[in-house]
């Protein structure tokens, strides 16, 4: 326990550099230090040392055997039972080395001295083999599922990538369901997850940098980005923030999220998280970085903008007009779920004058029998709803369903019947609850929390309290940054070019730039002028614009240079035939001037 607190404290207080010594120093008492040890050339010594390290680890297997051609060459395998692929270990390593080593050329005498080279080059039938002379690497490799082959007489271990363990198969995404679009989602195995991304972005510029985080758990963490699109500064920043993490264990990406986010106290999600590869790929293409953590399907994305909590991957697959409408609906939902109960309380207990007379009388009739003040009533209903939701999530699915139905019936129906709550309150609270589901999960959690904050303020000051809450929240949001990018980015500060993808989802041919603040240098994502144009009806030959998709270099584009001229030209085109080719545009411009 002492060590835990110690590492945590050092994480905050010390810069990344001299922390290394501190934390290893702190750990010395519990785990034997092998970090700086090198392997010896004596197999027995190595095995003894490893056995010492892995003492009482019943799942570590040590297997000694002899080389097929030269019996005096002793070999030993170390691997973790359950993490290594047993059939590979026995077929491709043991069988290959102890039985089937091809007969070497006669002049190539196999000795203890060149055994390692021979084993690696001709003996092992394993796809991925690397060498290491450090005990630490060996230990890490074994624990990560690799199989370590030690050769007598060599102070170098061969680390065979023969991993294979029980894992969940790739399934539909659980948190972000789409109607149109890929179904697959990430699983708990990091390597599978990176492969899912790689399958979407087949480009050598897709970089996957590995980190091992967690002093005890040694969890693999991958920093994924596209070189040339993600800004260098952002990648370096992400790298630094990951590198300074010193923690005993990383069991989920949430640990990392809270350790790297810009504002430690905010309830808002400053790193987006998702379990969908297509979303990750889309974000990478916009110049962001993804942080994958082994052992969880949840991937972190940075930097994140607030508006993304009402966006889904499907927005980009479905028709733009429709998705624009849906986004407006979601924005409304976000607003409703934050303010609906507060608004209700404000009106019913402070500002009766806001309601039309008929509505007021009908609500007054309902409230006649209710003994509680509106605020208390609403608060109770909110809490009841949160309870139902919580039990619905936590209980085993069949029971959970039953419980939520019963609870909803009791609260919704019986409470109104008994005159405990007004029907209007149930409607409002239910509306807010439903609306919160329309927002992306991480956003909805925040909103659910803040709803109570606003409700509390409203109960004190009515509409002014509600406005106070909203202003405080917005001020707070305006102060937030995610990896240096203002959280409210395209709206405040205004990025007019990126407003195309905020509430409106512009058609793809119009979104030819990446988000400005995020991808700093490399802005263009497609050639301009890809807007499909129907063939002119006359005999005139249609002239397609060149659509060269060049990553990295901006496409030369007339309208960028003569943007004001475009308006003149538009007026020209009203009276003359439409002018399409850039050359004639220029000519027209000159003649106009």
């Amino acid at each position: 326990m002492a060590f835990l607190t110690r590492t945590r404290r050092s994480r905050r207080a010390k810069p990344a550099g001299n922390e290394q010594n501190r934390s290893t120093g702190g750990r010395e008492s519990t785990v034997p230090s092998f970090r700086d040890m090198a392997l010896s050339s004596d197999l027995d010594a190595n095995l003894d040392r490893l056995k010492e390290i892995f003492r009482d680890c019943s799942d570590i297997v040590f297997r000694e055997f002899l080389f097929a051609q030269k019996e005096q060459i002793r070999l030993a395998l170390v691997y973790t039972d359950g993490l290594a692929d047993k059939s590979q270990v026995s077929e491709q390593i043991m069988r290959a080395l102890s039985l089937e080593v091809p007969v070497a050329a006669p002049e190539a005498e196999i000795t203890r001295a060149n055994a390692l080279h021979f084993v690696k080059m001709r003996g092992l039938c394993i796809h991925q083999v690397r060498e290491s002379a450090r005990v630490a690497d060996v230990v890490d490799a074994v624990l990560s599922g690799d199989t370590v082959l030690l050769v007598d007489g060599h102070a170098v271990a061969l680390i065979n990538g023969a991993r294979g363990w029980e894992m969940r198969s790739i399934q539909d995404s659980q948190t972000e369901v789409v109607v149109r679009g890929p179904r697959e989602s990430f699983i708990e195995t990091l390597r599978v997850n990176t492969s899912l991304i790689r399958r979407k972005i087949k480009n050598p510029n897709l970089k996957i940098e590995m980190f091992k985080l967690g002093e005890v758990t040694r969890t693999d963490v991958a920093l994924v980005y596209i070189k040339g699109i993600a800004s260098v500064g952002l990648v370096a920043e992400a790298r630094n923030r990951l590198a300074r993490i010193k923690i005993d264990g990383v069991l989920e990406s949430g640990y990392i999220e809270e350790l790297v986010q810009d504002d430690p106290y905010t309830p808002f999600a400053l790193l987006h998280h998702t379990d969908r590869p297509d979303r990750v790929a889309a974000y990478l293409l916009e110049g962001r970085v993804a942080i994958l953590v082994d052992g969880t399907p949840v991937v972190l994305l940075a930097p994140t903008l607030f508006i993304e909590s009402i966006q889904t991957p499907e927005d980009y697959y479905e028709k733009s007009q429709f998705m624009t409408a849906i986004r407006m609906l979601r924005l409304l939902a976000l607003f409703l779920s934050l303010t609906a109960p507060s608004f209700y309380v404000a009106i019913i207990s402070f500002h009766h004058e806001m309601l039309p007379t008929a509505l007021l009388l009908s609500i007054a009739a309902q409230r006649e029998a209710v003994p509680l003040p509106v605020f208390v009533e609403t608060l109770l209903m909110e809490i009841a709803f949160e309870l139902i939701r919580e039990t619905g999530i936590r209980l085993p699915r069949p029971i959970g369903m039953a419980v939520s139905i019963v609870a909803a019936l009791i609260i919704g129906e019986a409470a109104v019947q008994a005159g405990m709550v007004a029907a209007a309150t149930v409607i409002v609270v239910a509306l807010a609850a439903i609306a919160s589901f329309a927002v992306y999960y991480s956003g909805s959690v925040t909103v659910r929390l803040l709803r109570f904050f606003v409700l509390l303020l409203t109960s004190v000051m009515g509409l002014l309290g509600l406005m106070t809450g909203i202003i405080l929240i917005v001020t707070h949001m305006a102060s937030l940054r995610s990896f240096g990018i203002p959280y409210l980015y395209p709206v405040a500060p205004l990025g007019s070019a990126d407003m195309k993808d905020v509430i409106v989802r512009a058609p793809w041919w119009a979104m030819f730039t990446r988000p400005g603040l995020i991808s700093k240098k490399n802005r263009r994502r497609m050639a301009q002028g890809l807007k499909p144009e129907p063939l002119p009806t006359g005999g005139e030959r249609h002239c397609w614009r060149k659509a060269g998709l060049t990553a990295g270099r901006p496409v030369f584009c007339w309208s960028r240079f003569f943007l004001p001229a475009r308006f003149c030209l538009f007026r020209f085109s009203l009276c003359s035939t439409p002018v399409r080719t850039p050359g004639s545009q220029l000519f027209l411009l000159l003649s106009a001037a």
Partner: protein, 313 residues
Amino acid sequence: MARLVVGLGLRFPGKTLFQYPEIILGKAAGKAVALLYLWWFFQNCAENYRSFISFLAVSFMPETPLMVFVAFALIMASYGAYYGLEVIARTNQLFLPFVIVSVVLLFFLSVPEMTVNNLLPVFEAGMIHLVKSTAAPLAWFGEVVTFAVFIPYLNRPGQAHRVALFGILGTAAIYEMTVIGIIAIFSPALTAGYLFPVLNGARIIHLANFLERMELVLVVIWTVAGVMRVTLLHWVLVLGSAQWLGLKDYRPMILPVAVILTALFMLIHKGILEEYYFLAWVWPLYSLIIFEAGLPFLLLAVAAIRGVGGKSG
């Protein structure tokens, strides 16, 4: 006036209104002028708090003690001031479209209630009266002096002239629209008697027996706009007093300034009628002559004569 202020600001890049008087007038006189401005901003800020709150208190929650409003407003303003100009500006940017859209919406919703005849005849009262009565709105626009404080924080100070002018014109347009709308609804005779004519204007909107009782929108606008204004002034005050005292960071000043403002708030006026009179007749001349035109002109003149500061933009 805006040109005056911006011209001053551009002469001394990186310096605020509280810093360059010292350069222009020397240590003691400069400090004194800066202190005068500080005092004016204090008063201005307190007045703003006062009018912001009395609207809410009078028309919506007469029973609630003023201190509670002050507490709420101060929490919001201090929170914004704590984060500084950038955050205030961003928050503003987010709210501004909503405010403008709502104002325009209210205007158009009340069009059916308007009678153009109420506006006629124009310029009946004669020039002297006209000039006298424009003093109040003019002083109000004259608060563009505040601009002098954040010119050094602009990304492109070169555009300051344009921005200031644009800001004034935009505000004036909205102001004019509201005034004309209200007079067209109620006729001048009635409007003169109202304390908050816009509120009365919003209250009468009713379309199709459904879209009615729109003063809620007005409260929202008023709160947002009022808080933004007060926050900005609060920040100016905090920054100004910190700079005047020579502090490096302005944040420690937030609490003292808040306390002073609360006291000032409670002291300046005894009631709404006194406030009404003061804002209509005393305040405009006082601030217009001394702080919004007089002192900036003096400063610029002295700076030009003594040749201090960089070349004017």
